[in-house]
Amino acid sequence: MLTIIDYDAGNTYNVQKAFDFLGVKTELTADPEKILASHGLILPGVGAFAPAMQTLQARGLDSVIKQAVAKGTPLLGICLGMQLLFESSSEYGQHAGLALIPGKVIALPAKKGFKIPQMGWNQHELRQSDSVFAYVAQEYTYFVHSFYAQCPNEYLVSQVEYSAPVPAIVRNKNVYGFQFHPEKSGQVGIKLLRTFVEEVVEA
């Protein structure tokens, strides 16, 4: 069973439905004991960085997530949930993140022909061929975001090209992040979630 961290994030239900479709049980909870006992954590998220971080902090979930990660529990952050994994974000001011992956979140650069937010299907360029997600190479997944992560190459599993190279899948040990929405990315997205369950959580 997976634990979806409950902090009133927008896309929680659709993420849950995708796991339902895979036959993977999920529990939506903010209970620290359950999160610490979990074998796999999902941090969903849609919206702005600062209020999301504030909600996590108000529920004491920031330190609970860090504790769970420190003892080796796999964690997958999705969209804003991925951005929260980094050290900081400059979305509407300067804000600290969970700092589970080195790097910062900044606005997509303005560039002629590139509308902000990036909204739609973009193609992955693989950066780590030994990843369990390596089959994502050349595949398209669905993105909706105005900010993106900048991180050292060692944490970069795949990226997509927009007004800047955008990290799409990132990893630091047992912490994973998807900038796109796997729950909205058709069969590839579903397969990526299955891989997280089968090759990361259950491995």
Partner: protein
Amino acid sequence: MLAKRIIPCLDVDDGRVKKGVNFVNLVDVGDPAVIAAEYERQGADELVFLDITATNQKRETMKAVVERVSRQVFMPLTVGGGITSVAQMQELLKAGADKISLNTAAVVNPKLITQGAEKFGRQCIVVAIDVKMDPTTKQYQVFTAGGKHNTGLDALKWAEQAVALGAGELLVTSMDKDGTKSGFDTDLYRKLNERIDVPIIASGGAGSLADFTTVFTAGKVDAALAASVFHYGELSIPAVKQTLHTAGVNVR
């Protein structure tokens, strides 16, 4: 690179797709979930559900449709038709919709665009605009109430205003072209694209494979929507995408 999107649109009446869909391989051609799954298989990038239910009492059925479709089909879903409040938007988003399309309600109450964008993010708010050219003044005018009411608004100005109010995307239907199968109104989209910095979905007029190439290359739109040519199998989504790919338009 970001792919250009192909979007089938389904009219839903009281929870059922009542007309227009004619896939020989489907058992129940009225079931939105079955049709959505078929379009996912064909490679549609997104789906738009337009609620054409006549009475408000029956509108509840749309929530159930969205809930059911989003359990089986994993692509972006836009829902429009008769949405007049933030509470309705929230219910549909919670049921599994990704975007809400506002048409008449946005003209009647433009604040609704801002309220929705502030609460859910502008990427959730699509403003749909039905456009007809005045034959004498050559002005693009905005029609509401399913194309029945001429608002007198200038479509290019309303588009700019909608974006300024918080629209994250525009779904622009050319009423002059709709149903003619004579191609999209490329001029309209080119003019819009010069003024607008959010994605534009072109709608109305799709009749041939080449029409899609033209609207992306000359009209500079981000997505193209069609209904009957897809529903009746006159054009297939794989064929449209193959044509676009050959023409150098990036598709998934």
